[in-house]
């Protein structure tokens, strides 16, 4: 697992999500990237059940259970600012058994699907974020395989991102700041996806409020 940067691409003015994705993929292909199949990252939310809350009345914590097609035999479970657990796919079955402690939030499943591109040692994934039937945004993930220390290659990644995202290049992800010389791992990528999904969930609420 190399250093990965997950970011959101804003939808272009006057265009749909689909068209913006097409624009991006065309730019990538012009750069010389090769298509290499598809990918999918999804996320389900669970509340801690009310019965487990103590008399202190703590707020229920949210737990996210995520899957990544890059690691088909693994399942990631993370809390917002807490630890990330990497388990195998039987964890989903375990969650069913833990219904008493964790309850699934309604209509919370959010996922991103799209195509993978390979350019030299970079792996680029452009996906459409959907919640239910509606497309909510565009996720862009860039992984640089050879490097495993985040602080080393941020400049290099930034240069690559600029070459095809142009002005929409993101800033350094917060996970990079936390771990200076530690080896980058898949858990860090899932934390970035979790942040992205939360941001997109919050975004959609604004237009809904406007309609009302």
């Amino acid at each position: 697992m190399g250093v990965t940067c997950v970011s959101q691409m804003p939808v272009a003015e006057g265009k749909s999500v689909q068209q913006t994705v097409e624009l991006l993929t065309r730019k990538l292909e012009m750069l010389g990237a090769e298509k290499q199949g598809t990918f999918c990252v999804d996320c389900e939310t669970y509340h801690t059940a009310a019965s487990t809350l103590g008399s202190q009345g703590q707020a229920g914590k949210l737990m996210y259970v995520m899957h990544n097609s890059e690691y088909p035999l693994s399942c990631f479970a993370l809390f917002e600012n807490g630890p990330c657990l990497i388990a195998d796919t039987n964890f989903d079955v375990l969650m069913v058994k833990l219904k008493g402690f964790f309850q699934s939030a309604k209509a919370s499943k959010i996922e991103t699907r799209g195509t993978r591109y390979q350019y030299c040692d970079f792996l680029v994934k452009v996906g459409t974020v959907t919640m239910g039937p509606s497309a909510r945004g565009i996720s862009v993930e860039v992984e640089y395989g050879p490097c495993v220390v985040a602080s080393d290659c941020w400049n290099l990644l930034l240069e690559f991102l600029q070459s095809f995202l142009g002005s929409h290049t993101p800033g350094a992800p917060t996970v990079f700041g936390n771990r200076h010389d530690a080896v980058y791992g898949p858990a860090d990528t899932m934390i970035q996806y979790m942040d992205l999904f939360n941001k997109i969930r919050k975004q959609q609420q604004v237009p809904v409020a406007g309609i009302r």
């Binding site: 395989g145 050879p146 080393d152 400049n155 290099l156 240069e159 070459s163």
Partner: protein, 311 residues
């Protein structure tokens, strides 16, 4: 003419011998004429017989005299010289049709050219031997008989010495760690780990570096049975490029008499890769060129360049 050719033939005696042959021919024909004429008319039969016999004897004597003269002259003529300088190729020069088959002149030119070539090649090899390109300490072109009895010592070093040198270099740089093992006989195999950037497998032959393979920090360097995998390439293009550069470096740093200096310089050059992903190219200022970071490190200044940007 006689002094120009100087082939050992006495031309004076030669012409005299030819005239002697003519004289011999005429005297032999006189004998047969005499026989053909028969006896001359004389008064008595005895007189005719005596005159005939006397005439016949004179003719035979003259034949004898001419033959002796010819033999004497033929001994003087001498044989043509046996030591012909051009042997069989000289016979080509006797071909009179020069413009259709200029074989002899072409042959002479080819011979002169090959002589010159051999001379120049000898001079060149003498000059080139002074700057030896071979990595062994043996002298080039020395035949088995003339090889000195004592073998050069740098190729047959005790393993303990090699271990000592490597452990000293290991302590030189804090971010580089070297692990030595000998899974296949006496040649050492080093696993050099440079920070969290890359791993290098170095195969050595006594204290000379033979091959290197550069792989990523997260790549597996062992085979399924736990031995060091010295053959499979890295799966990342950047490290395949660095492997090529490392091979160039081990051919560049050469000193057959002082191999430990060579290993030290190679490790110093390798250490400059600690900033493989952080250093921009010194020439174009960018980080990426065709998707690759600056992978070339200059051998003297250790500056980072893209492979296409280096001078």
């Amino acid at each position: 003419m006689a002094d120009v050719l100087s082939v050992g033939v006495n031309l004076e005696a030669f012409s005299q011998a030819i005239s002697a042959i003519q004289a011999l021919r005429s005297s032999v024909s006189r004998v047969f004429d005499c026989l053909k004429d028969g006896m001359r008319n004389k008064e008595t039969l005895e007189g005719r017989e005596k005159a005939f016999i006397a005439h016949f004897q004179d003719n035979l004597h003259s034949v004898n005299r001419d033959l002796n003269e010819l033999e004497r002259l033929s001994n003087l003529v001498g044989k043509p010289s046996e030591n012909h300088p051009l042997h069989n190729s000289g016979l080509l020069s006797l071909d009179p049709v020069q413009d259709k088959t200029p074989l002899y002149s072409q042959l002479l030119q080819a011979y002169k050219w090959s002589n010159k070539l051999q001379y120049h090649a000898g001079l060149a090899s003498g000059l080139l031997n002074q700057q030896s390109l071979k990595r062994s300490a043996n002298q080039m072109g020395v035949s088995a008989k003339r090889r000195p009895k004592a073998q050069p010592t740098t190729l047959v070093l005790p393993p303990q010495y090699v271990d000592d040198v490597i452990s000293r270099i290991d302590r030189m740089f804090p971010e580089m760690s070297i692990h030595l093992s000998r899974p296949n006989g006496t040649s050492a195999m080093l696993l050099v780990t440079l920070g969290k950037v890359l791993k290098v497998i170095v195969v050595m032959r006594s204290l000379f570096i033979d091959r290197t393979i550069v792989k990523g920090y997260n790549e597996n360097v062992y085979t399924e049975d736990g031995k060091l995998d010295i053959w499979s390439k890295s799966s990342y293009q950047v490290f395949q490029k660095v492997t090529d550069h490392a091979t160039t470096a081990l051919l560049h740093y050469q000193l057959p008499q002082m191999p430990d200096v060579v290993v030290r310089s190679f490790m110093t050059w390798l250490r400059s890769y600690i900033k493989l992903f952080q250093a921009p190219c010194q020439r174009c200022g960018k980080f990426l060129q065709d998707g690759l970071p600056p992978t070339w490190r200059d051998f003297r200044t250790l500056e980072a360049f893209h492979d296409t940007c280096r001078q």
